[in-house]
Symmetry: C2
Subunit: 293 residues, 2 copies
Amino acid sequence: MSRFATRACAYACSVVVAPIVVARAYSERETNSSTVEVENELAPRAAVSHDERSRTRWRYDWNPVNEEVKGGASKQPTRVVWLVRHGQAEPENGDVEDGARRLTSLGLEQSKRTALRLKMLIESGSVDGDFAGSTPSVMIHSSMTRARETADVIAESAFPHVRREVSHLIREGAPCRPEPDTWNQKEEVHQSESPRIEAGFRSIFHRAAADQRNRPSGEAAEPPSVVHEIFVCHGNVIRYSVLRALQLPPDAWLRIGLYNASITRVDVHPSGRVSLRSLGDAGHLPTEALTWN
Amino acid sequence: MSRFATRACAYACSVVVAPIVVARAYSERETNSSTVEVENELAPRAAVSHDERSRTRWRYDWNPVNEEVKGGASKQPTRVVWLVRHGQAEPENGDVEDGARRLTSLGLEQSKRTALRLKMLIESGSVDGDFAGSTPSVMIHSSMTRARETADVIAESAFPHVRREVSHLIREGAPCRPEPDTWNQKEEVHQSESPRIEAGFRSIFHRAAADQRNRPSGEAAEPPSVVHEIFVCHGNVIRYSVLRALQLPPDAWLRIGLYNASITRVDVHPSGRVSLRSLGDAGHLPTEALTWN
């Protein structure tokens, strides 16, 4: 077995037990009664392997830490990063440059519903009541038309006073060759676009700045425990960036699908820990409004 | 650097570019105008590294393939695996054994909303119109009270005629030591429970059986392209199983959080490809009904 294959296999095969027979017996069990109590006879003949080769290690030093964070991490806020995929866009068309494609009427409707959901999530503090009543400190959107139009709807419907920025780094593109490679993108496209998308990831994911505040200075005596930032961008950028943020293999990005106008939330703690709280959440859209492109 | 550290770093560091300066300039930009056009000057001085050490490899042989699948994979249905976390349960209490903890009234309400959402998702075919009108072929729930009660509500509210099974394999527990290890569970608990949860993963994730059908035989002339199965279980089991199914490092499971009564969808294709379509989707719950435990 080559060194490459050994490495790739390491975490896929990290847990080795014997109960395949159990799973098979399970699926073959047939009956006419409404509920079946399946007796799972489990004989773990081999212990789970917890040797070092099957383990990852979380890197706390994944982005530069300033002196204040080093000295007193607990005083820094947690960054709550909200990643919103743009609404449904017009289909690709040779006459329209990709970055100029506009939202459909369904895309506008999706964006409005997403705006209202986002407002409720951020204002209620969802399950983290300690930051109820928050507003986002910034909304950054990609410079592609479909992202800008989605951000326009979010601003108008939910956050008219939130500062906005435009970024070229988080435009759609080819982040890195996916594995398995069912996309078959040309290598030169990956080579030319992946540094930009990696830079986009770094612009989204970092610890809070030492002086980052959710409210205007002077308004709150206590520094906030959480700051919210919204990024409106694209499927490939979000999939790649979330995997990178979680320190998972980024070439797995195409194993994930994201609905249009879906909401992904990732918390970046001052300690350097990163936590995925939702991925591609679109439950706020009616099922007939669920689309992928 | 030890061999372990080198390995752990491999995918965390797989993409090496130079634009940290860009990200910093970006966050320091301040202005009073409503929308800021930030010029992202990107100078990718180092190309992205795509050498073999930064790549994973998808294993198509992750579960046994029967002869019919090998001979004609396209005739096999795709399994759509719906993983539902139980609703909110009573807090842990020394008087009640963990497996006997019951749903709260909010947990019952969450479960009902989740049942209706699941029914709409499955019946509409969501964005895969070719299987509109489907019903699940089975609902399997863990033998813990909170999962059984959630399944009871789902059956009553949405799928009264769907076959049900109970599994001990997908009860809550300690799947493998998480990294970073913020749980600090005793090693013997991991050692004793991880083979069972690994067996639970294998009972959930496998290719469709050669003769698996969504409707009673004889009713449909054409075999279905998709079969739906619902698993009602627990946060740790879902987090671990999804990572294993995606061939990602399973010890990353605690980097993910899942809301009570959330819906996770994973498609298992006859080719052996696996696709995550939603993770912990709880957008169908009002924000005041979002809970973690």
